[in-house]
């Protein structure tokens, strides 16, 4: 008795676009290099993808409300700079991590404050705090690279049941985010706010609280991404986290999250996007492609992601148009 109208066929294909792209990439690299298809390499890719992945999960929350956070790379940097100083000063590891996460949350809340209370566009606010964070971090580190204690490295190298810790952290973040977005009232209200802010306000949703929360969550995730990145390469260089926001946005959008808000998912969407990007980099590495070509290939990936989003949006708006049922010729 219940039925659902048919999805336009083009849309169905577009929704699977990142999966198809992923399969294609695997196929190409697999054919070109047998080493690519080993279990160890798969874990390797996941480990490398975990930092960008966590960053992209946070970004997904923001993108779902039709916002953007350009400051996440700087949040990573500030948190790492402070964390590094503390760690070198002999503060125990768990306290260092807690402070780093706190900085991320605070930074995100600061963004949120400007965006919700002063009603400044997210793009402008986070562009400003992006440079602010970069400057602050450089001041803290005195523009020198810091090598962190062994404890960070041990964190990254640790394995539980053979699975590297970064991958487990990534998985935990994804699980939590997925449950929040799909199963809680808060999560569904994020989609509502992104779908139509004015209507959400009219429906009695506390839109400011929602908007505030997504930027805070995004900041927290950025700090988490910073910790995971440090555990893999325990050094804070002046360029730490630089431009990572664009990889995060690309990963989310590749995974089907719309820049126009209201559409997208952390799982499988953003996870797939992040792993896809990392797979490409890993594959290029194995194939010994000239590293100077990486930016070109990255730009192509971002372009494809945004193109897919635009096409999807167009198909959706076409599908929303009224249908005419044209009569066939009389027999």
């Amino acid at each position: 008795m219940t039925s659902a109208p048919a999805t336009p066929p083009g849309l169905r294909l577009l929704n699977q676009a990142s999966l198809i792209l992923f399969a294609l990439v695997l196929l190409v690299f697999g054919v070109m290099s047998p080493a690519f298809f080993s279990g160890e390499n798969a874990l390797n890719i996941l480990t490398q993808a975990s930092s960008t992945g966590i960053l992209a999960v946070g970004m997904t929350f923001v993108l779902l409300t039709a916002g953007v956070d350009l400051s996440v790379g700087s949040i990573m940097f500030v948190a790492a700079a402070v964390g590094g100083k503390l760690a070198l000063g002999g503060v125990p590891l768990f306290a260092v991590l807690a402070v780093m996460l706190g900085i991320g949350l605070l930074y995100g809340a600061l963004n949120a404050l400007f965006i919700t209370r002063l009603a400044i566009m997210a793009f402008i606010v986070t562009l400003a705090t992006r440079y602010f964070g970069r400057g602050l971090g450089l001041r803290i580190t005195e523009t020198r690279a810091m090598n962190l204690p062994e404890s960070f490295y041990e964190l990254g190298a640790a394995r539980i049941l053979g699975v590297p810790l970064p991958v487990l952290v990534f998985a935990a973040v994804v699980l939590a985010a997925h449950l929040i977005l799909t199963r809680t009232p808060f999560g569904r209200q994020i989609y509502a706010v992104g779908g139509d802010l004015e209507a959400a306000r009219k429906a009695g949703i506390r839109t400011r609280v929602i908007l505030f929360s997504v930027y805070a969550i995004c900041g927290l995730c950025a700090a988490g991404a910073g910790i995971v990145a440090l555990s893999q390469a325990p050094a804070v260089s002046p360029g730490f986290g630089n431009n990572r926001e664009f990889m995060a946005i690309a990963a989310a959008v590749l995974g089907g999250t719309s820049l126009f808000g209201g559409r997208g998912a952390v799982f499988p969407g953003t996870v797939l996007g992040a792993v896809l990007i990392q797979t490409i980099e890993n594959g290029l590495n194995i194939l010994n492609v000239n590293p100077y070509l990486y930016p070109l290939i990255t730009s192509a990936v971002i372009f494809v992601a945004v193109l897919l989003d635009a096409v999807r949006n167009r198909v959706l708006s076409l599908a929303a148009r009224r249908k005419v049922f044209v009569e066939a010729d009389p027999a």
Binding site: T2, S3, R183, A199, V326
Partner: protein
């Protein structure tokens, strides 16, 4: 259920509601009609808690009712269904129904009880006769189905009083019938409804009692059988309109200005052929979804056509982009003026000059000739009788629907079009403004333009047109000459031979 007594409201010393009193009993549907600006919206805003009355009292189920916010109104069991629906297209039906109060598994866990939500949604959807899964995304529903979801939403909130504000404007005839059937069922359940509409036929058909508002006061409040269409109209405008449609002073010529020959586009229209003459008003009738607006978009060049030819003054324009067609004398008043015809945030002057910027530019330097533009805007706004209160710099969004439509017309008049395509030119406009739009259309024809007028109101076509073509499922099914104009024949044609109940 709800009782208004002596409600008064003033804005800046101007009384917009005067001593408004009426009552809706449980299970009763009360129609509220009046021209735009008669005070309907103000009254509903007071009921909904967005505004406070200066004087007077509302009683809900016998208790004094004075909402301070829209939340208060909702908690009191009042649901509003607006002209523009407030649904989230990217969420499922179930989520739309429970967005504010999702059922939970346990109070201490933040998770939604999805099974319970689905079950309750299914039950509510059965009540409004909608056979979709609760997980269906709203973006996949038609306008009519979305309207039903809105009603289900009201039921989910256990509303006892539902206010419907122009609910049928975007519905097909069949969807409208369906909505009315559901409303009858709600009435049996004791739910009261206030029905606000410009479609007087529907108001007469549906309501038990009708309140006519005029200039903020109740002009009449009587049981429906006391009213006729003519009486309602004359009560609304306060004077008897002997003729809703102005007398035509010019005649159609036999010079062809626009010729559409064998136009087909798969999935949209099929084999469309007609001719439009100078000074002629050609009506296009048909149900929503018959392909009328789509045909208009093809003629104007917004959508492609696979086969066929469109000729303006014997020159083929089928391959030209819209801008080029405008330059050759085509004008298009779209069906959705807010989304497609106007820049709402921009001023009246900016909107009016938009389509004629090229002509208002000094050729040598390429910038706008502002004195000339100002003079032209003033000339045109007089021609369309735009309300004197509106300044040229005023944002268009602050105008009433009727005045907005005049701004769109003014925009095109500046180009002196040879063919004017009007898609639902009077939708959602009050009767006084309608009259003026009709007069403007006559004037266009008198100046020798060909007018292609698409409308869902059959009376309007009969009153205005020299000929009417009826479309059904993307084809022209009938061409009707004035002496054969007949409401029933047109409807029959549009509905496939007597499918109309």
């Amino acid at each position: 259920m709800i009782e208004f007594s002596h409600i008064e409201k003033s804005f800046f010393g101007v009384k917009v509601l005067k001593e408004v009193s009426f009552t809706a009993k449980p299970g009763q549907t009360v129609g509220i009609v009046g021209e735009n600006g008669a005070g309907k919206s103000t009254l509903m805003n007071i009921l909904g808690g967005n505004l406070r009355a200066d004087a007077g009292l509302m009683r809900l189920k016998g208790q004094p009712y004075a909402p301070a916010s829209s939340g208060d109104a909702e908690r009191a069991g009042i649901a509003f269904i607006h002209q523009e629906l407030n649904l989230f297209a990217n969420l499922s039906i179930a989520e739309n129904l429970f967005l504010r109060g999702f059922p939970r598994n346990r109070t201490w866990l933040p998770f939604i009880n999805r099974r319970q939500m689905s079950e309750r949604t299914r039950k509510l959807l059965r009540e409004v006769d909608l056979a979709h899964s609760p997980d269906t995304l709203v973006e996949r529903l038609s306008a009519g189905e979305r309207q039903l979801v809105e009603i289900a939403k009201a039921l989910a909130l256990d509303a006892r009083l539902i206010i419907l504000d122009e609910p049928t404007t975007s519905l097909t005839a069949r969807e409208t019938e369906r909505l009315f059937a559901i409303m009858a069922r709600l009435r049996q359940r004791g739910i009261s409804m206030l029905y606000i509409s410009h479609s007087l036929g529907h108001v007469l058909q549906l309501c038990d009692e009708i309140v006519v508002l005029r200039d903020g006061a109740v002009a009449a409040y009587e049981p429906t059988p006391q009213f006729t269409m003519d009486r309602l109209v004359s009560l609304m405008v306060g004077r008897a309109i002997t003729q809703l449609f102005p007398a035509r002073e010019s005649k159609a010529t036999d010079q062809v200005v626009l010729e559409v020959h064998g136009v087909s586009q798969p999935g949209v229209v099929r084999d469309i052929t007609f001719q439009l003459h100078r000074g002629e008003i050609l009506g296009v009738s048909g149900l929503m979804g018959a392909g009328r607006s789509e045909l208009a978009r093809i003629v104007f060049g917004l959508d492609p056509c696979a086969v066929g030819d469109i000729r303006l003054n014997a020159e083929s324009i089928s391959r030209l982009p819209p801008g080029e067609r405008i330059r050759r004398g085509l004008a298009f008043l779209t069906e959705d003026r807010r989304a497609e015809g106007l820049c709402l945030e921009a001023s009246i002057a900016d909107n009016v000059t938009l389509a004629a910027l090229r002509d208002l530019t000094r050729p040598a330097v390429g910038w706008l000739d502002r004195p000339k533009a100002r003079a032209e805007v003033n000339r045109i706004r007089d021609a369309v009788k735009l309300t004197a209160a509106a300044r040229n710099e005023q944002a268009v969004k602050t105008l009433s629907g009727g005045n907005q439509q005049k701004v769109v017309l003014a925009k095109w008049l500046l180009n002196e079009p040879k063919v004017f395509i009007l898609d639902e030119p009077t939708r959602g406009i009050d009767i006084g403004a309608k009259h003026e739009i009709y007069r403007l259309i006559h004037e266009l024809a008198a100046r020798g333009a060909g007018v292609l007028m698409i409308s869902s109101e059959v009376e309007e076509l009969i009153g205005m047109c020299d000929r009417i073509i009826v479309m059904r499922r993307g084809r022209i099914h009938d061409t009707i000459m004035p002496r054969e104009f007949d409401r029933e024949r047109i409807l029959r044609s549009a509905l496939h031979d007597g499918a109309l109940a």
